[in-house]
Each structure stands twice: as C-alpha cells, then as structure tokens.
C-alpha cells in the first residue's frame, strides 16, 4: 500500500467551485473563507482578537492579547486555488499523495500517526504537526528549519521519502492540465504557471486554517460561564507557575514560537532525535524542538515530535516526571529551565486534560472538495462532524 486509503465519503458542498465559466466547469471562489473579510481585493482575518494588541507586537500574553502576525492578504481566488491543490495528489510524483495525506481535516490537519507514512509506506521519524493556525508561525518543521510556508512545503513536495516530486515535473504536470491553467490565470493573471504561484496558493490556503472560536476563546473574551468549574481549574493549573504550561504554550496562539529542550523520550528502540542541533550544529540545542501550538490538541494524538505519547494524560504526566527523567543515560541536554519538579497531583493532571479539550474548534473547517482539477481522487476529504 502506498498510502492509507481513507473512506471517501465526500461532502456535497462544492459551492465555492460553482460552474460559471463557459470553457470549463472549474472556477474559483470570489468570497473569502470563513473568518476572513474582503478588503481591497484581499482577505483579512476578523476574530475575537482583532482589536487587541500585544506587548512589543509579540503575539504572546494572556487572555485578551493580540495575535501573532498572520500570513494574510491573499485573494479569495488564491486561497481557493490552494484549497484544490492541497487535496490534489497531482502534487506527488506517483499521483497518490497530497498535502492532505498527512494533514487530514478529519484528524485536526494531522494524521493520527506517530510517524507519518512516506512514499513507499515507510514510517517517517517525526509526527505531522497540525496545520490549524499555521499561518501564525514564523518557523516551521519540528526543528524549525524553514522560516516560511513556501519554504516548508518544498520539503515534503520534493523529498524522495515523501511526495518525491521534482520542481520540473510538478510544474509540467500543472502546466499540462487545462483546468489548472485556467484556475491559475484566475488567481494570478495571464502568465504561465510558475512554482512561486503554487507555493503562494498553498500558503494562502494553509494560512486560512484559523481556529480561534473555541470555548476557551469565549472564556478569554468574557464569557466565563462557557467553561465548567473543572475546566477553569485546569486553566489555572495550566497557567500556574507550578505547571508553567503557559510559559511556553502562551496564549493566544498557545505557542511562544521558541525552541525548547524538554527531554521527552523517543519510542522504544529509537535513538535520541537531535532536533535543532542537527540543523545548527549547536550542542546546547540538542534535543530542541519548536514549541507546538496546543490549539485543537485533542484531535492530534499521538503527541510530541515522535508521537511517543498516545494520550493527553500521558503527555501532561511527562512534565511532572522529574527534570530529565527520560533523557537517555550518557546524554547531556541543556534542558529548559521550566522543566522542573512541579509535583502535580493526579487530579491536577486530569484538570489539565479537561482544559486542553476546551481549545478544540473546527468551526472554520474549509469546504472539502469532492473532486480536484487533475481528475484524480482527492485525498482525505471524508465528512466531518463538527
């Protein structure tokens, strides 16, 4: 099996692609996706947080804090084209993998696996991260080696173990497709399709995956009654200076976008992943990874860079296991100072899990295409229950 076959119970909601053009059944939406307003021909986010600021425009703070800078200002057409590309396996060499193979809407835009499945069914070393709110991130990949979505996507697109395409082949397959030629013209004007346009469209779509309407967000904006007492207690454990979760998973994005060395264990028999050190060569960054967002974390088990923890409960328990308790013998890691001995009780761990589940919100899930311009079968577009 090249990839896991998902049940393709498709949504019959192709509104954004209503046939209007005489030459082709394909068209692009002129309407911005949910959560975005059209202004001067481009789409901009409207959210609970739009009127708030943050200290030094850092996008970190407390309950009513402005968001980190979002990749926005794309046209509705570019976003919609990105949506079609995202689910279209034409992007892979073998025509059987799409972005959505590992970033599945039904699994919080992750894939539910410890290590994602590569081109020939091999298991990769790291877990696919969620794409919810990815447009707020300044660094991508677990080891932070990409500084834009455009740069990031060239990893999986052209990696031999993943989609295995080449820039030339990718471009050729899109240029040879009448539907895509038409759609790229709608999104980018009368020029030959180029790779930058592909990257821009996918970036535009991925940046539109915004989740900021959770029950937590309602609480943060003054609707205190929407959280239960245990959930509020969990939030207080989360932001306490005992558990210290909020020190790195800082609202409103629930990541401070820094590198942290925390010393989580690898799966049994797997050697330590050097993380950021493998990129920078800096020994103090050994075992360092980008702090991931906790938005929609309920949907994206298993957890940590190599999916070692199956449940949220196991994951939060790691932090009270003692500083460095899972660091292999003979390894020295410059562990983050917030990794300490908080001595959380079992009850507090349960409360933390209860709170984390208040961060679930998929209300702006995009319309999942029933078909894609290549004529291939769209990937991972099964029905969602909100």
């Amino acid at each position: 099996m090249r990839r896991r076959i998902l049940p393709l119970l498709v949504l019959l909601l192709g509104i954004a692609s209503m046939p209007t053009d005489a030459d082709t059944e394909w068209n692009l939406s002129e309407v911005c996706p949910a959560g975005f307003h059209l202004k001067d021909g481009a789409c901009y986010l409207q959210s609970f947080y739009s009127d708030y600021v943050s200290l030094q425009s850092s996008g970190v703070g407390g309950l009513k804090t402005g968001l980190p800078l979002l990749r926005e200002g794309f046209s509705a057409q570019q976003i919609d084209l990105g949506r079609l590309l995202f689910f279209d396996p034409i992007l892979s060499l073998d025509g059987d993998m799409a972005c959505s193979s590992c970033h599945q809407p039904a699994r919080g835009f992750a894939d539910g696996l410890a290590g994602s499945i590569g081109r020939h069914g091999e298991v990769m070393h790291r877990s696919a991260p969620t794409l919810w709110n990815v447009g707020f991130l300044r660094q991508l990949f677990w080891d932070a080696r990409a500084s834009s979505l455009e740069e990031q996507m060239q990893g999986p697109l052209f990696s031999q173990e993943e989609m295995a395409n080449t820039p030339t082949q990718l471009l050729a397959s899109l240029q040879q497709n009448d539907n895509y030629r038409h759609l790229f013209r709608l999104a980018f004007g009368e020029s030959e399709i180029d790779l930058q346009q592909v990257y821009t469209a996918l970036t535009a779509f991925e940046s539109s995956l915004v989740s900021l309407s959770s029950r937590y967000d309602l609480y943060a904006n003054g609707f205190h009654e929407v959280l239960t007492q245990p959930e509020i207690e969990g939030m207080n454990v989360f932001r306490s200076f005992v558990a210290r979760c909020a020190e790195c998973h800082t609202p409103p994005a629930f990541t401070n976008q820094q590198i942290a060395v925390i010393g989580t264990p690898e799966p049994d028999g797997v050697p330590l992943d050097a993380g950021v050190q493998a990129i920078t060569g800096d020994a103090s960054q050994r075992g360092g990874f980008r702090v991931p967002t906790l938005r929609n974390i309920e949907l994206t088990a298993p957890y940590m860079h190599s999916g070692r923890f199956k449940t949220l409960r196991e994951t939060v328990a790691f932090y009270t296991g003692g500083r460095g308790h899972a660091v292999p013998k003979g390894e020295h890691l410059s562990l983050h100072w917030h990794i300490w001995e908080p001595n959380l009780t079992d009850h507090e761990l349960d409360l933390l899990v209860a709170f984390l589940k208040t961060l679930t919100d998929q209300s702006f899930t995009p319309v999942l295409p029933t078909k894609v311009p290549s004529g291939l079968q769209p990937v991972a577009t099964q029905i969602l229950t909100h």
Binding site: G35, Q46, N221, H224, N236, A243, A246, Q285, H336
Partner: protein, 464 residues
C-alpha cells in the same frame, strides 16, 4: 502625580457607559471566599478583604478589579497556601490592583500577572512563597511599591517581559534574587532595600523567551547590601547559576543607568556587568543579543564589596594584582568597551572599566517615572460590551452587513427573521442547510441558550 486610582481606570471611565462604573465595594470576611467576590465583581469594583486566613488561589480575568486587604489593629488578611496551592493571585485583567495582603506558603507565585496592563501591586507582605513573589508578565504600565518579600527561591520581585514599570520602596531579603528586571523595557528600580539575597538586583536578557530585549532601565537610590546568602534556587533555574555575594548583575541588557545606590558588603562583587556567557548550560538563542551595551554609571556609594569572592573572581583578582574583589566588575567582551561610561571611577575598586568613557549625563533628575502618562490604552471587556465582541468574534467571521461572505449578509438574515431573535437562537444551535449556494453553518450549540439569544438580538439590531 498619579496615585490611588490607576489612570487606565479613569481613562476607561471616560469611554464606558455608567452602570458598571458605579464602583461597588464587596466585603470578604474570614471564612468567606475571595474568589466568590471576584466572580461577583464588575469592572471598577473594590473587593475588601478583612483580617482572617484565606486558603485559596484567586484568579482575576476581568478588567478594573481591586483587591484590597483591610488591616485592622495590626491584623492582616492572610492568604495561606499551606505548601499545596499553586499561586495565590493570578490576574489577566487590565487595571488590576492588589494591596494590603499577607501571602505565604504557596508552591508557585504570590502574585502573578499574564498580560494585564496598568497593574498596581503594593503594600503586600510575601513570606516564604515558592518561586516568585511578585511576577507581572506581558504587562504594560505597572507599579510595584511598598511590598516586603522574603524567602523566595527565585526572584522576589520579577518583572518579566513587561514595558513601563516602576519598582520602588520595596524591601527584599533572604531570597535568591531580590529584584529582577528581565526582557523588559523602560523600568525604574528606585528606593528599594535589597539585602541578604544571593544577588540583590538583576537586569537580564534571558535567552529563549519570545520578547528578546531589555533596555532603558534605571537603578537609582537603592540600598543593595550584604547579599551573600547561599544560592538555594531550584536545580536548572536561571538564578540557580548566579554566584552568591553580588549586589547588582547586569546581563546582556542595554542602556542601564546606575545612580545613587548604596552598594556594600556584597562579598563577590558590588556590580557585575556581563554577557550571556554568565549563565551556563542553557540552550542558545540566536535572536537574543548577548552583549551588554551602553551602561551609564553615575555617582554611587560603594564600599566593602568583594571581601570573599567566589573562585572565578578570585582568579581574576590575581590577574589584576588586586587583594580585594571589585566594586565594579565588567566581565570580558562588550562589557569593557567604551560605549559604556562612568563618572568618578577612581572611587571604586574596579575591573574591566579601563576603556569606559566619561559620562555626559551627570544625573537622572529629569526622569521621575517610567510609567506612561494616562496609562496604557486597553480594549476593555465588560458585561455590557461582550455581546458585541461575541458577534464580532464569531458571527462576523462569516456575515458582513450587506455583503456576501462565506455566509449570507446580515441584512438578509434580518429580513428573514425580522423580530424573531429566538428563531435565530434556535437555528444556530443546530443549523441545517437552507441555501444551496452557501455552505452549512457550523453549529453554535456550545453557547448557552441565553448567549445565543443575546447574540441573536444583537444581530437583529446591527445597522452597518
């Protein structure tokens, strides 16, 4: 001079309708819960906490709340953590004031802010409480004054990632760090008494934090005396790596003015200026600029420092042919460069300041405060405006007034439902597809019936 009433609150008062600003007083007596009072309170209210013992953690996620202890005949209200509760006071709201409390035996912090601008923390006694005593984080415009803190295993007063903060008239002793200004801009640390800590005053850039800079800090007229307590910081913490016996440490921070302090009896050194290499075994952060730049050392009274320094400084003394440890130690690299300045340097035992220039500035009498006149402007959420926020935060994501978005225009919805707010409230709990040319609406059943009704009424009243 702004006193008593936080200016942000006055500012708020000008903007908002009256009812919530008829500030109420809510009394909390021994046996009652402070949290229950907070839950009842509205913007502008004052919670009066009478003498007694309060065994709880209190969180304040509203704007414009004051918690004020009532001290009667020397009896204080005491928040007691019994070694099991996490933080005593946790606030995120703007215009928050907490004063006249005794706080003791918490595992985490005594008073902790996460965002929350225009905070005032004063007249509190914090004893033997966990990690930090007073720790505002991500706050703009704050005042910390007349607090007494002891027995804290990290910083007693820790201003972390804030802007525009005055810290004055506090006493901090028997802590690992007395007062720490970290990744913070525009701070005035004045008239404090920092004694018998491991280190008295710290001005740091700590790497790995999302806000990267510390600059424009004045340390003025403080007593920084006999800070020689053995380091009892938690393993792995930043301050656990600070050697004992230092009055003032400036690490990587820029534009720090040191004036009018009495710095004496600190056995390793009076003042150390250093780059990030001072803290070892910490993951490096290429976005943190490691060098301290543009120190300004005006007149200070320094004597009897460096009497029994830690080994590193002893070794340094040998290279300097000195029998005494230093009043001032500029530790390698940019700390020794001429962008730093000092006046009357001959008065001090000093290492590494040979290249420092003469300061043009002779005093800082022109700077009275680092706080912002009028306070930091805030978006304030009150019970009155929260429905509007709900509409803007959720509904307006898909509905514009007279424009097609992902959902139909508000005008269309208004025409369809006319005065039937309940109809909208019912529909949004479990939407079904009405129009073939629009996607189905995500259900809002997690909103209570009252909230759905509130926002539906709001939607029917929208006029632009």
């Amino acid at each position: 001079m702004k006193k008593i009433i936080p200016m942000g609150l006055l500012w708020l008062g000008l903007l908002l309708a009256v009812p919530s600003l008829m500030a109420a007083e809510i009394s909390v007596k021994d046996g009652d819960s402070i949290q229950s009072a907070v839950n009842k309170a509205n913007t502008g209210d004052v919670i009066l906490v009478y003498p007694g013992t309060y065994k709880e953690s209190v969180y304040v996620d509203k704007d414009g709340i004051t918690i004020r202890g009532v001290v009667q005949d020397g009896e204080w209200p005491v928040m007691e953590g019994e070694g099991v509760r996490n933080d005593a006071i946790l606030y995120s709201g703007n215009d928050f004031t907490v004063e006249w409390l005794t706080i003791t035996h918490y595992k985490g912090n005594a008073i902790m802010g996460q965002a929350g601008n225009n905070f005032v923390i004063r007249y509190n006694k914090v004893i033997d409480t966990g990690v930090y005593g007073i720790f505002p984080q991500f706050g703009k415009n704050g005042l910390i004054e007349y607090n007494v803190l002891s027995g804290i295993e990290d910083a007693a007063i820790y201003v972390g990632m804030c802007d525009n903060v005055d810290v004055r008239h506090n006493e901090v002793f028997d802590n690992v760090a007395g007062i720490e200004i970290e990744n913070t801009r525009h701070a005035l640390v004045e008239n404090n008494y920092a004694h018998d800590n491991t280190a008295g005053l710290l001005v740091f850039i700590t790497p790995g934090l999302p806000i990267k800079t510390t600059y424009d800090v004045i340390l003025r007229n403080n007593f920084v005396v006999n800070n020689n307590t053995a380091n009892f910081g938690a393993a792995g913490s930043i301050v656990s790596k600070v050697p004992p016996g230092i009055g003032i440490v400036v690490m990587a921070a820029d534009d720090v003015i040191v004036e009018g302090n009495i710095v004496s009896g600190n056995k390793t050194a009076g003042i150390v200026i250093t780059d990030l290499a001072f803290i070892t075994d910490i993951s490096s952060d290429p976005d943190s600029e490691p060098n301290p730049d543009r120190m300004v050392f005006l007149d200070n009274l320094m004597f009897d420092n460096g009497a029994d320094p830690v080994a590193d400084v002893k070794a340094l003394m040998l290279t300097q042919f000195s029998r005494r440890g230093p009043d001032i130690l500029a530790n390698l690299g940019s700390a020794q460069e001429p962008d730093n300045c000092i006046i009357n340097r001959e008065r001090y035992t000093r290492f590494g300041v040979k290249k420092w220039s003469e300061c043009e500035r002779k005093d800082t009498s022109d700077i009275l405060t680092m706080r912002i006149p009028g306070g930091a402007p805030n978006e304030v959420v009150t019970t009155e405006n929260r429905t509007k926020l709900l509409y803007q935060g959720i509904c307006a994501g898909c509905h514009a007034y007279n424009l097609r978005m992902i959902g139909p225009p508000t005008l269309t919805v208004q025409a369809l439902y006319r005065n039937d707010a309940q109809g909208i409230a019912d529909y949004i709990a479990a939407p079904h597809k009405v129009r073939t040319d629009y996607p189905a609406m995500p259900p809002q059943g997690h909103l209570s019936p009252e909230l759905r009704r509130e926002v539906a009424e709001y939607m029917l009243g929208v006029t632009k």
